[in-house]
Amino acid sequence: MVPVKKPSARALALGLIPFIAMCFSVALWDRVYPMLFGIPFNLFWLICWIVLSALCMRAAYRMESAREKTDSETQ
């Protein structure tokens, strides 16, 4: 099969951030207090990270599409 283009290490690092924040670090944020805007801390944390994850992926998107552009120019 055609070799596919691998994602850049920097984009992968950006993709790892949401995993650390929403998955691996669960023991640090799984608590009720302090409640923020009336929402338990763990739920609030996840809601924030849904938005922040989208921002991480937006940065990764920019990185990847910039790379694609320079690649197609050099070819």
């Binding site: 055609v2 596919v4 691996f24 669960v26 799984d30 763990n42 849904i50 938005v51 994850s53 991480c56």
Partner: protein
């Protein structure tokens, strides 16, 4: 008009508008196999977004997530995390899958395995595990639909007639317009679902407690342990959370319908942009959770947590709104059900029947057979949903753990030249067998770890180890391409 009439009228109106949109979606196009299964690879970012959202937010998200918030508490948070992370994973694999899909004309997940590994038994195995995993999922959607419509109509229409009518409608629009129908019905469904979720999630805490903050304060006071893990359960703690989130985030795009929906995109860039925007749709789930948590205090003691959301909605809102929720809920079941039927029918005709029984079939004949299979699968799943109803959720979890076992074959197949057919086959069989054994012997979670995750780790290890011990065959690609042509 009686409340039943109002609610029923609303439900029927929404469902029929949805079905009509679906019927018309492919009206002006010639429905060959390529159009029917992957929409001619022409979906732009917006339609793609709505199709993926439509496939993802099923009755399980609607009833299941709120049901978990009600009956289990804290562990339900895994739903928000895994969906977000599934889209992060998708950023790194879907554009690549799309590229090879276009190059080799792939339409199904099984096509990917057939081209990459050039082994029809492996492709057939993937196909069978995929179809077997669909069945409980499909059954769950139909059962959920029956529950939603009968409760939302105040019992005005029974579960069985509701299921029969909806299966006839969805089989009709899938038959006529294929994947385009599913995408366009999703548009209506997503709009209604977001509106209903927001109204429920903000409205219900407001009605009973004067707001979301006071509701959570009251819940934290009444049940201090409910809002964190393991909540109301004994063994769904942090280890379970991490392993389940990883399993489901990695396995998410291994569902055959999610995988093949990739091929509908217009470009790999569409998929990347989609991966950036999809997490935001997960925010609507927060509203569903708010409603589920409120139900703990308002309608305590329900035997079936899945009914919590609808029970509290029924006693809090006027009949027309209940009808709206019922109609949106019905579409929430019909959209995923229709894509399951479409994918299973295509897999059966293209990847199981043709390679094994009738290699000479043309694409047109495959398309015809797939359409016939839509009707057959519709009838079979309807019978299953009507005559069996127990332990569906456990079957569903087996399905999830089962399809996740495709992940090593896909990931390593894309990025590691050294991976061999024998290794992927061995890893997959070990993974599927481990999953079934642990789950059927009630060892899930196993020592706190999600059983499917344990199986996935084993699968990865076996695949890598055997790959290093065997020689990669250079013929895989050539044979796969030949089989396709």
């Amino acid at each position: 008009m009686s409340p039943t009439t109002v609610a029923l009228t609303m439900i029927f109106a929404i469902v029929f508008i949805g079905a009509t949109i679906g019927m018309l979606a492919g009206a002006r196009r010639k429905m060959d196999l390529e159009q029917w299964t992957v929409g001619g690879r022409g979906f732009g970012a917006v339609l793609m977004y709505l199709l993926m959202a439509g496939e993802t937010y099923t009755t399980f998200a609607f009833l299941g997530a709120s049901g978990w918030a009600y009956s289990r508490g804290g562990p339900t948070l895994y739903v928000m995390a895994y969906l977000t992370l599934a889209y992060v994973v998708s950023f790194f694999i879907l554009p690549q899958i799309w590229e090879v899909g276009r190059k080799y004309g792939m339409q199904t997940q099984s096509d990917f395995f057939s081209v990459r590994y050039g082994n029809r038994y492996l492709a057939g195995f993937v196909c069978i595990v995929g179809i077997a995993s669909f069945i409980p999922y499909l059954q769950l959607q139909l059962t959920g639909l029956g529950i939603i419509v009968s409760i939302a109509s105040f019992g005005g229409i029974g579960r069985t007639p509701a299921m029969v009518i909806s299966v006839i409608l969805l089989a009709a629009f899938v038959f006529a317009s294929g994947i385009r129908a599913v995408a366009w019905v999703s548009v209506l469904k997503d709009v209604l679902m977001v509106l209903a979720a927001a109204a429920i999630g903000i409205g219900i805490p407001h009605i009973y407690f004067g707001g979301i903050g006071p509701m959570f304060a009251a819940l934290a006071h009444a049940h201090p342990a409910h809002l964190t893990m393991p909540g109301a359960t004994a063994d769904l703690g942090h280890t379970w959370y991490v392993s389940t989130v990883l399993l489901t985030a990695l396995g998410f795009y291994m569902w055959p319908h999610q995988f093949s929906a990739t091929f509908t995109a217009k470009s790999s860039d569409t998929l990347r942009r989609n991966a950036v925007a999809m997490p935001l749709y997960t925010l609507t789930l927060a509203f569903i959770l708010f409603a589920g948590f409120t139900a703990v205090l308002v309608v305590p003691g329900l035997a079936n947590g899945d009914l919590a959301l609808l029970t509290v909605v029924r006693q809090s809102f006027p009949p027309w709104f209940l009808g709206l929720v019922g109609g949106a809920g019905a579409l929430t079941a019909m959209v995923p059900a229709s894509i399951f039927i479409l994918s299973a029918a295509t897999l059966f005709a293209k990847n199981l029947y043709r390679p094994i029984f009738a290699p000479a079939m043309t694409d047109e004949q495959v398309a015809k057979l797939a359409r016939v299979m839509v009707v057959v699968i519709g009838i079979v799943s309807l019978c299953l949903a009507i005559y069996t109803s127990t332990t569906l959720v456990s079957l569903l979890l087996i399905g999830y753990a089962g399809v996740s076992q495709f992940f090593p074959g896909v990931l390593l197949g894309l990025y590691w030249k050294r991976v061999t057919t024998a290794a992927v086959f061995a890893g997959m069989i070990a993974g599927v067998a481990t999953t079934i054994f642990l789950m059927l012997s009630h060892r899930d979670p196993w020592r706190g770890w999600s059983a499917g995750f344990v199986a996935l780790i084993l699968n990865f290890l076996i695949t890598i180890l055997i790959s290093l011990l065997t020689q990669p065959s250079q013929q895989g690609e050539a044979r796969g391409a030949h089989a396709r042509a």
